[in-house]
């Protein structure tokens, strides 16, 4: 340590430094103005430092708040909802809707009536779909397609968003007993900017570009105002005609399958409801049906089958039906013995599936209806005949 001490020995304040310090000190203590300021300088420094600290911390808090708000307020994913009102929802990182934009006039009107900002994307979609149904955008024949397109840069997130929104809307449709076809798809954000340039919704653009790959003559303009339902039908038509030729990517294959499935569903819905309506109308025309609910329709169908069987004395199925009818009558009269019940139970087991297949509704049924005279007048007579037989 001697070396250290000897080195420090050589460290000395030079004359200039001493003189300068001396001058400052004397100046400070003789000059009144300086005196207070210099001597108080420590205090001033402390207050200043505190003030600066406070300012800095407030600024930091503000920045965090602003940053947080900006993060909250920035949509990262998008969901496009197309029925005919086209709406695009911007979803932030916390799965909340922070932007809602109507792509067409109907969509804008829909958004004006329903405020969906700051709610979760599922509830927003639920609300919008419900509003669309109430306003009659979803046709009652079940042919309307509700298209959901989840858009995200991250494929996993897009799929997740698609599944979540689809499940929720599906639940809503089931709960409210709404007949509609749900078409859910996902894509990346690239298609969104393209769609924005063209002024249509991303979901629509995706389907249109799909169609364009099959038929180059199709333009976006043609389908700008079209309903999604029409686009899906057209797409399926094109897919049917082109067959499987020219299929390259898995992505394409998937979309194709989805479109075909959706179109199939439209067709089925339409058929089912049409059948129902037809049956209902015919009964109403005949003045047979007072309240047109489904249970009644079904019982009436049964009657008609039975009537037909009796009149024509037809094939086995019809005979079975007849028997069932007899059984029902007997039950009503409470005259039947146990043995009879067994036999009739057997019959019923055989009959029920057959009836169901037949009454699930098609041309045959309608023919039956046309041929059959009014059951209300015939019923008592038939009952008597059957009972007599037994």
């Amino acid at each position: 340590m001697k070396d250290f001490a000897s080195y420090l020995d050589k460290v000395k304040a030079d004359e200039g430094l001493k003189e300068k310090t001396k001058a400052v000190i004397i100046n400070a203590y003789t000059n009144q103005d300086l005196q207070s300021s210099r001597i108080d300088s420590r205090k001033g420094d402390g207050a200043m430092r505190k003030l600066m600290g406070a300012t800095a911390s407030i600024a930091a808090c503000l920045m965090i708040l602003i940053g947080g708000y900006a993060y909250y307020n920035t949509p990262v994913n998008y969901v496009s909802l197309d029925i005919n009102p086209s709406v695009e929802l911007g979803v932030n990182a916390f799965n909340r809707v922070v932007r809602a934009e109507g792509i067409n006039a109907d969509g804008q009107a829909l958004l004006k009536q329903n405020r969906v900002i700051n709610v979760s994307v599922e509830s927003a979609l639920q609300e919008l779909v419900q509003a669309a149904v109430e306003q009659g955008y979803v046709a009652e024949d079940g042919s309307t397609v509700i298209a959901l397109t989840a858009l995200s840069d991250n494929e996993d997130k897009a799929i997740l968003l698609r599944d979540r929104t689809r499940d929720r809307v599906q639940l809503l449709l089931r709960e409210k007993d709404i007949e509609a076809v749900l078409y859910a798809d996902c894509s990346n954000l690239q298609i969104r900017s393209q769609a924005q340039d063209m002024g249509i919704s991303p979901g629509k653009l995706r389907l249109i570009s799909m169609m364009q790959s099959l038929d180059p003559n199709i333009t976006v303009e043609q389908y700008r105002g079209a309903r999604i339902t029409e686009i899906i039908s057209k797409a399926n038509e094109l897919l049917q005609s082109s067959g499987t030729a020219g299929i390259q990517s898995q992505e394409y294959e998937r979309t194709r399958a989805m479109i075909m499935a959706a179109d199939q569903e439209i067709y089925q819905n339409r058929q089912r409801l049409q059948d129902q309506n037809r049956i209902q109308n015919q009964y109403q025309n005949n003045g047979q049906v007072q309240a047109g609910d489904q249970v009644q329709n079904q019982t009436q169908n049964q009657y008609q089958y039975q009537n037909k069987g009796q009149v024509q004395g037809g094939d086995e199925v019809q005979n079975q039906i007849q028997n069932q009818y007899q059984y029902q009558n007997q039950l009503q009269d409470q005259t039947s013995g146990e043995q009879q019940n067994q036999v009739q139970n057997q019959y019923q087991n055989q009959i029920v599936p057959q009836i169901q297949t037949q009454s699930s509704g098609d041309q045959q049924q309608n023919q039956i209806q046309n041929q059959t005279p009014s059951p209300t007048t015939q019923e008592p007579e038939q009952n008597r005949v059957k009972q007599g037989k037994n």
């Binding site: 250290f4 080195y7 420090l8 304040a13 430094l17 001493k18 310090t21 000190i25 108080d40």
Partner: protein, 160 residues
């Protein structure tokens, strides 16, 4: 506020002559910039004359000055915009031999608390209990810190 004591030219001259070298040496341990040293000098002596009536004896004055100078130097180094790496290259005084150079460099690179103790103990020649009183720390703490400082120096320069 305590009214400022009567300060004459002579008093200032004597005090500065007496303690300037010591203050300068402490500054040397912490500061490399001449302007910083000037700042510390002015502040230390301003405070000194402000409290000149409160000192009991010579020893007290010296200890008080050491403590104030340490604190001022540390305050200066604390400010973010003044934080500078101590560069050993621009030491003004040349070393007598390489061993001395190594040792001084090693001491200057020690953590702040160790530097103080090394200086007070080996240069000013205070005992550990005295240092503990000046630094207002436990005696054993000072012992421990001195031992750690010595270990560090040994690792760097070998035998002290």
């Amino acid at each position: 506020m305590i009214p400022p004591p009567l300060v004459t030219d002579d008093l200032v001259s004597i005090a500065i002559e007496k303690y300037a070298d010591m203050v300068r040496r402490i500054c040397f341990l912490y500061l490399r910039d001449k302007a910083d040293v000037e700042d510390v000098f002015q502040e230390v002596f301003l405070q000194y004359f402000l409290h000149i009536n409160t000192f009991q004896d010579e020893q007290h004055q010296k200890a008080w000055l050491c403590r104030v100078t340490f604190n001022k130097c540390k305050d200066l180094n604390k400010s973010i915009w003044r934080k500078r790496v101590v560069s050993i290259e621009d030491l003004e005084i040349p070393f007598e031999n390489p061993e001395q150079g190594e040792l001084v460099t090693a001491v200057l690179q020690l953590p702040t608390a160790y530097k103080e103790i090394i200086y007070l103990h080996y240069y000013e020649g205070w005992t550990i209990p005295e240092i503990a009183e000046i630094m207002q720390q436990n005696v054993n703490t000072v012992y421990t810190q001195l031992r750690r400082a010595k270990t560090k120096l040994k690792q760097k320069v070998g035998v002290i």
